[in-house]
């Protein structure tokens, strides 16, 4: 076959869709799993700094292994490689009396959902005309909810299959935690649908590009980089950005944002809601009996969930891949790359915030968490829906 024929074959719409999707999936998966190991390193380093320690600072380039005189510490960045290698080379120990099938199934169930969530997140505008979303589906947000709540089964199964009391308590806590935040998580997002009128995450991002981020009350209307050279246009767009509707809607949007953020913390089992893990109380919680790669799957799943959760927050509330004054990918591949970079940068900020919160707050007791979910966030989220409806009704009539 000659190259022209292959090129022709690759540009058939369906074939083009299939191979670009595979390529996007492959690259995104590898980038995200790489970011997971960077996040673990960042977690260790930030926690150390917050507690006035230095954190990992030795593992770098092992020159002594290659016959050199001295190792190059490289700020301990080698730890990112050393940690996974250590986990991979450990013995995968299965204790006696476990339910083998579920014991092996559970880590996979925890790892899978966060990676599936990545499929619907728009991680950039477009590159060479290819949309930077793996699956642009109309039920995007519902898909996220449907898939993320599956990871709780992995945790509960791990707790049950381990045949040990601490994992069991962890699994029970996980399910009790799930019923207390899941409702608030779902309800908090309804005002966004009322404002944007869509469940498609790509369209929510588009709405935010036109009307400003959902958490920002003021947005210069149609502001672009070229306007900086034309003061009259600039002033025009600045004035056009002021609208009563946006300022009124800012209140319910902020309430939604806070509830969603806190629920994502609970969803990803991060402190202050890491009840299933609770290493001080439950040894290691649901993954006490696990070792080696099975344990690593839980670890990977937890951090991938953090990434997916941050990605959802960024895409829904913080304007997705958009930045003020930056054109989208249709203006050339450079701006496409910039938009991808912007998305990853925003996600990193949320990830750092999650780490920062973890080393600040103590853990909730689980009756406190249930109280917070049922008596705090659930009514507030319900009230928030009515508030949004009233504001929308007043503004439009």
């Amino acid at each position: 076959m000659d190259t022209a024929l292959i090129l022709h074959f690759l540009t058939i719409p369906l074939v083009f869709l299939i191979w670009t999707t595979f390529l996007k999936t492959f690259i995104l998966l590898n980038v995200v799993l790489g970011i997971v190991s960077v996040t673990v390193f960042a977690e260790r380093k930030v926690s150390a700094f917050i507690q006035d320690r230095t954190g990992p600072n030795r593992v770098g380039i092992p020159m002594t292994l290659l016959g050199g005189k001295k190792d190059i510490p490289f700020w301990g960045l080698g730890q990112m490689i050393a940690d996974p290698v250590k986990l991979l080379t450990k013995e995968n120990f299965v204790p006696a009396g476990v339910n083998k099938f579920f014991f092996w199934l559970a880590p996979k169930l925890v790892l899978l959902p966060p990676l599936l969530v990545l499929a619907v997140l728009p991680f950039g505008s477009s590159l060479f005309g290819v949309e930077m979303t793996i699956a642009n589906i109309n039920v995007g947000v519902l898909f996220i909810f449907a898939v993320t709540s599956l990871s709780v089964y992995g945790i509960t199964l791990a707790g049950w299959a381990s045949n040990s009391k601490f994992p069991f308590i962890g699994g029970i806590r996980s399910s009790s935690q799930m019923i207390s935040y899941e409702l608030a998580l779902g309800l908090s997002i309804i005002p966004i649908f009322m404002v944007c009128g869509t469940l498609n995450i790509n369209e929510i991002v588009d709405w935010q590009i036109k009307n400003g981020w959902l958490v920002a009350p003021y947005w210069p209307h149609g502001f672009a980089l070229g306007q900086l050279l034309h003061p009259s246009d600039l002033i025009h767009s600045l004035v056009a950005g002021v609208s009563l509707e946006r300022f009124l809607l800012w209140i319910p949007m902020m309430i939604s944002f806070v509830i969603f953020l806190v629920s994502i913390f609970a969803e990803t089992n991060r402190l202050p809601f890491d009840l299933p893990e609770a290493e001080q109380e439950l040894v290691g919680g649901y993954h006490t009996e696990y070792s080696s790669m099975n344990f690593a799957s839980f670890f990977l799943g937890e951090y991938a969930a953090m990434f997916a959760g941050s990605g959802a927050i960024v895409s829904i509330f913080l304007g997705g891949w958009s930045l003020p004054m930056i054109p989208d990918g249709s203006h050339g591949w450079f701006w496409g790359l910039v938009s991808i970079g912007a998305w990853f940068a925003k996600v990193s900020v949320i990830l750092l915030f999650m780490i920062w919160i973890r080393w600040t707050l103590p853990r909730f007791r689980y009756d406190q968490l249930m109280k917070l979910g049922w008596l705090g966030f659930f009514p507030i989220a319900l009230f928030n829906i009515f508030l949004t409806a009233v504001i929308l009704a007043i503004v439009h009539h």
């Binding site: 917050i50 507690q51 006035d52 320690r53 230095t54 600040t360």
Partner: protein, 176 residues
């Protein structure tokens, strides 16, 4: 009689967590920022930085043997330390001091004196029990070896670590 602890009345701001959350974040941010500029970090980088100068005089490190100001081994191999040693780390092989030796009147000294540092628990009983004040716990704490044999301190090593201890007992001096 049970002590009743009343729950404190919380204000609305305290109940909704948010103000204290922000205050907490501010505190941790302060530490993070300080540590980023390498200030306020309390970690010591162990093999490079050591705390040795601050070890107290009563620090119980590795047990060692000492010689007196005349260069005489103070140990007379009475084997009391060997008997009292809880983990049985000490093994002594006594020998008689030959007739023509300067210290003949001491009668005995150790031919071999081994302390198995893999067994030693640094309790200091050997130092306490020694009637001749020949064995002392010094400040060496980093005793390492690649195998069990290397962890055994023989007489030579013990004297090297111990050094000279002057003027504590005088009963073997010439004047007496």
């Amino acid at each position: 009689m049970a002590i009743v602890v009343n729950r404190p009345k919380l204000t609305f701001a305290e109940k909704c967590y948010l103000p204290s959350l922000v205050a907490g974040l501010a505190i941790t941010w302060k530490h993070l920022k300080r540590a980023l500029f390498n200030k306020g970090i309390v970690t010591m980088q162990y093999p490079e930085e050591k705390w040795d100068a601050n070890l107290p005089d009563w620090y119980r490190g590795a047990p060692t043997l000492v010689v007196d100001e005349n260069g005489r081994e103070k140990c007379v191999s009475c084997q009391l330390c060997e008997f009292i040693c809880p983990p049985r780390a000490i093994t002594i092989k006594p020998m008689e001091i030959p007739e023509n030796d300067k210290w003949r009147k001491v009668e005995k000294r150790p031919e071999a004196f081994d302390i198995d540092m893999a067994r030693c628990i640094y309790c200091g009983l050997c130092e306490e029990v020694c009637p001749e004040e020949a064995i002392f716990l010094r400040k060496d704490y980093s005793i390492t070896g690649l195998n069990r044999a290397e962890m055994v301190h023989d007489k030579k090593t013990l004297y090297k670590l111990g050094g000279v201890m002057k003027g504590l007992t005088f009963k073997w001096n010439e004047l007496k």
